[in-house]
Symmetry: C2
Subunit: 339 residues, 2 copies
């Protein structure tokens, strides 16, 4: 790549509120993201959502590197918040978008990120309706951090709540584990494998839509397994509902290259971050039908186990050989800045 000149990079004055900032907004952000709501260019967006319950969610994305195999921070920032809203049983509708840019980021990289945001938003059917741009000095950030907050409308037949989880409910997962975390880690460590490991970042709103439209309140709980991985999510659930979860290790799917990377780096895939994996707790009576819906989207979906009264607040995994072990929540930081 050729060296960037002064005109090719973001400077502090791009965050000033003055003419340079207006130019950056017009030349990069509004060029790609324009829609009638954003076009009003007020500090806030006006939204008509009708009645009903809203879901509201926020996440800041600080992933490093900002471009990774299978995606970049912009795509991740859209999908992550779309997925948080989806896990509320909501139809994601509107996003806010706030950049904290380190001085020196190339305009080309910034524009590529904005274009990915546009594409991911279109794919998920959401609109970016309001935003903010700040620039900090070199050494006070790391290229770019992005916050997206989102508003969705809770689907009328959704009743997602950990309070509804009961003994006997089925615990399902929609796909193979650990791809996102291992894509990032492999890139950071300079590892390569026979088959390339790609992040699993994707929008989950359409599979959730089908689950809720088909099964209504028989879907009791949804949570995406991001930071801390599957193990942390399941432990959060057991802590919340004061019930236990039994898992069958053989039903946890991890792709071959991902498994190799985990072994090489000494990581347990159940603790590794995902960006397209979620846990679904459903009434046992519909577990096979729920699995069939999940498999329409990802063939690696599995029934992992069930909820039990036997060991409250504990997740216990049964190995292929019948041994049992407690799956504790993540302690310490396994993979900093994974999302």
């Amino acid at each position: 790549m050729s060296k960037n000149t002064a005109a090719d990079i973001i400077h502090l004055h791009h965050g000033s509120g003055g003419q340079h900032m207006t130019a950056l907004l017009n030349d990069v952000i509004f060029k790609h993201l324009d829609n009638p709501t954003l076009a009003t260019r007020h500090d806030g967006a006006f939204l008509n959502l009708g009645g009903g319950t809203l879901a509201f969610s926020t996440d800041s994305y600080v992933i490093s590197p900002i471009f990774f195999k299978g995606g970049n921070i912009g795509e991740l920032a859209v999908n992550g918040t779309v997925n948080d809203l989806s896990m509320c049983g909501a139809e994601p509708k509107y996003l806010s978008l706030a950049f904290i840019i380190e001085e020196g980021l190339s305009l080309a990289a910034f524009e590529q990120i904005v274009i990915s945001i546009k594409t991911a938003a279109q794919k998920a059917g959401v609109q970016v309706v309001t935003g903010d741009t700040k620039v900090v000095e070199r050494g006070k950030g790391d290229k770019i951090y992005i916050n997206t907050s989102g508003i969705g409308v809770v689907r009328p037949t959704a009743a997602i709540s950990s309070a509804r989880i009961a003994a006997g409910d089925a615990v399902l997962v929609n796909g193979a584990l650990a791809a996102h975390g291992m894509a990032i880690m492999s890139q950071r460590e300079g590892l390569s494998f026979e088959s390339e490991i790609l992040s699993d970042t994707t929008n989950l709103n359409f599979v959730v839509k089908e689950l809720i439209e088909t099964f209504g309140d028989k879907i009791k709980f949804l949570r995406d397994a991001t930071r801390g991985g599957l193990a942390s999510v399941l432990n959060e659930i057991t802590t919340d509902c004061q019930l236990g979860i039994n898992l069958l290790e053989k039903n946890i799917h991890v792709d071959t290259a991902v498994k190799s990377a985990c072994e090489l780096l000494g990581l347990d895939p159940v603790y590794v971050a995902n960006e397209g994996v979620f846990v679904c707790i459903a009434e046992a009576s519909v577990q096979e039908e729920v699995l069939a819906v999940l498999r329409k989207y990802q063939p690696a979906a599995m029934i992992l186990g069930n909820v039990t009264e036997e060991h409250p607040s504990k997740v216990i995994m049964t190995s292929a050989f019948g041994g049992k072990r407690v799956v504790n929540p993540l302690v310490g930081e396994q993979l900093p800045r994974i999302c």
Copy 2:
């Protein structure tokens, strides 16, 4: 201040999604900010707002220093987003709260910021309902950055739109200029003045409520004069509505100590950032009554001038001696990281 030990500061593992993060959330964030919506601890919040139009706004706060005379980054992050919603003619209701913390921030400083957030939210009558915490390595941030996004319900009689601005409308300001920017600059430069300069950070939702309840659609436009100051806001307005604005310099109020600081640093107060100042464009027929309402909250409120067809897209200021000059928008970065 005594040296912090390892247990007193934020570490990368506080952002892990695991046990340390849960402890930080419980011990600091939920301790101070708990409410029934946040207590569900889902990744998103469920909100019932009835029908009507919503306002949605986002801002990231990257101010340095994080503790300043008259406030801190936490208070600023609440007031700033409350004010952006207020400027939409909305009643601010709910905030999201997302931290990007640099490893090494003291837990005491973090807790003080969270307490200020709580106090500012209570004062403005808004609830923090969802959040996110990320931790980045030393040298990849600067103590703490905060994003708040907010949802408000647009007041039924509000009709805030730059498209409604017409020649003859009055241009008002609710108080004295440049206090926030000069409080920060004085602190950075180690300057002191006879009377201390305090940031003007405050919530503007109650004055806006009274304006809209009293004058309805006779209030045509509202915008807070933050980054880029009064000059940039007025230029944005004239650009949007393709009309001009006339200002009387003698009606622009700047406190004595603030004026001294501006002179010492060679800054024009109309370009300096404010955190409690807003511009109100109202029908001329009610300008005196609007002024009277503004003065109930801040005695320094003034009618600055009016909207004109004479010089489209230009802001022209008449000095005390009758001379006229064009007030251009801010070029370059005057005060980086002022909010």
